[in-house]
């Protein structure tokens, strides 16, 4: 299936919203786990201050692709990337890239919330401390509060900042992890199934948060939940068998997709 998908991805590559600046540009990406090719010839331009959703059936490569955007796959032995990924025009796989700095600029939130076994305060303060982003206690506390507010969890935790983060509910833990990611002021936020382990109310909070955060961040979200993609994203990319089948404004993908494959997937005829 590689051959038709190559042409499809070439046809539909480009930006979803041509009038918005491009934040991340990917050209001709191939990705391998050892001898297995997981992504073929992905070219896509992700717009700044928009929410872009990656959808597709399990194993289609959407999470793998997400993780190439802050080089999280580097830590998996035997992986190999071809092609280029630029953020603000600079190749993140080029020589001289500081991967730690890259991951500071491109934050990530995972499917399963993973707070440190520390206090709520320390979870958010940690990244600020190791990056020397606060010069004194007052500034540190200010940044922690700001981040917790931005992640819409401040009101729920402000009276118990020294309590263990592990005592929070799943939805609160996930928002704490978002606060932790925001504390170090990234430009891009990658979210890998951020609400799939949450109940509907916690999910709604996260979705509302995503909507608010896009003013300040470029957000990329992987989701299995198509309704969620439809609700939260501005642009949607549909992946299938390691290829990018279609990419465009979310509205178009869910009301009138150009590709039959996309239509079959979003209408639930396969996947």
């Amino acid at each position: 299936m590689t051959t038709p998908l190559r042409s499809l991805s070439t046809l539909t590559a480009g930006q979803a919203k041509p009038d918005t600046p491009v934040k991340i540009a990917v050209t001709g990406m191939n990705f391998f786990y050892g001898a297995t090719q997981a992504l073929s010839d992905i070219s896509i331009a992700l717009n700044a201050n928009l929410v872009t959703a990656f959808i597709g059936p399990s194993g289609c490569g959407k999470s793998t692709f997400l993780r190439t955007l802050n080089r999280m796959n580097d830590i998996i032995p035997g992986t190999r990337v071809e092609g280029t990924v630029t953020i603000d025009g600079k190749d993140i796989y080029g020589p001289g890239t500081d991967v730690v700095d890259l991951r500071r600029r491109v934050g990530m939130v995972f499917q399963k919330s993973n707070p440190f076994p520390k206090s709520i305060f320390e979870n958010v303060a940690y990244g600020l401390r190791i990056n020397n982003l606060a010069t004194n206690r007052g500034e540190l506390e200010g940044r922690v509060e700001e981040s917790l507010k931005a992640a819409a969890i401040w009101d729920e935790v402000k009276d118990r900042l020294q309590a263990s983060a592990l005592a929070l509910s799943g939805g609160q833990q996930q928002r704490l992890c978002i606060a932790r990611a925001l504390a170090i002021q990234p430009e891009i936020l990658l979210m890998d199934e951020p609400a799939s382990a949450l109940d509907p109310i916690a999910t709604q909070r996260i979705e509302e948060l995503i909507y608010q955060l896009k003013r300040d961040y470029t957000i990329v979200i992987v989701t299995h939940n198509m309704q969620q993609a439809a609700r939260v994203s501005d642009a949607t990319a549909f992946f299938w068998l390691g290829g990018l089948v279609e990419y465009g404004p979310t509205e178009t993908i869910f009301t009138n997709p150009a590709e039959k494959l996309t239509e079959d997937y979003v209408t639930g005829r396969f996947g």
Binding site: M226, Q227, A230, F254, T255, N256, P257, T262, E263, D264, V266, T267, G268, R269, F270
Partner: protein
């Protein structure tokens, strides 16, 4: 790629079946009303006047099905367009049923007078309106945007006939005031037939939207 018929698809097919049933009923009632006029058959017209319940019931049932399908399945793309189209087509077909009743009421009054003239253009209008309605529903079933487009082109002919009917009857009314009452009813009937053509046009536009996602209204 795995393909399976899901119960959503079955319910969507069922919904389309109900719409067709409703379209068939609306068509029947229009045909009877016009036949009552042409053949001056009072009892036939009375049948149309009492038999609106089935269409009304379908109107409610179809809306209810659409509402549930939207709420429970959150359909996307072509399925979403099909259900939105069904909601609109449902309203149009119900209005066609109402107009058949309006025509019957006018025919009932008209039959109390001697004929104003031999009817030529009104049966022609009725035939055209019925063709448009049937073609629009066929286009819906066969998902055929070309047939739907054909319906749109027919609407002008219907409008022209309505204008011709009005002019001709105006002449009769000016010449003989005794014809005013029945002639006004014929003008009303032509107006209702023209409205039925408009509803058929709406259905055809919805079919085009459903199949190709193009909004061709108001062009």
């Amino acid at each position: 790629m795995e393909r399976h018929v899901r119960h959503f698809q079955e319910e969507l097919d069922e919904l389309k079946g109900r719409l067709l049933e409703m379209g068939g009923l609306a068509e029947d009632r229009l045909r009877l009303a016009v036949r009552g006029l042409v053949e001056r058959d009072g009892p036939l017209v009375e049948k149309v006047l009492v038999g609106d319940a089935a269409i009304n019931q379908l109107h409610i049932d179809i809306d209810d099905r659409c509402f549930k399908l939207l709420a429970l399945h959150q359909p996307m793309a072509v399925d979403l367009r099909a259900i939105v189209a069904a909601v609109k087509i449902n309203t149009d077909l119900e209005r066609v049923g109402d107009l058949a009743v309006n025509i019957s009421e006018a025919v009932r009054r008209y039959l109390q007078h001697p004929p104003v003239k031999e009817l030529i253009d009104i049966p022609r209008m009725a035939e055209l309106a019925q063709d448009m309605l049937r073609d629009a529903l066929d286009a819906f079933v066969r998902r055929d945007p070309e047939l739907a487009q054909h319906v749109l082109t027919q609407d002008d002919a219907l409008d022209e006939l309505k204008t011709a009917v009005f002019r001709e009857l105006l002449g009769y009314m000016l010449r003989d005031s005794a014809t005013i009452e029945p002639a006004l009813d014929l003008i009303l009937i032509s107006r209702h037939l023209e409205r039925i053509g408009d509803h058929a046009t709406n259905v055809a536009e919805d079919v085009i939207f459903m199949v190709s996602a193009k909004d061709v209204r108001h062009q």
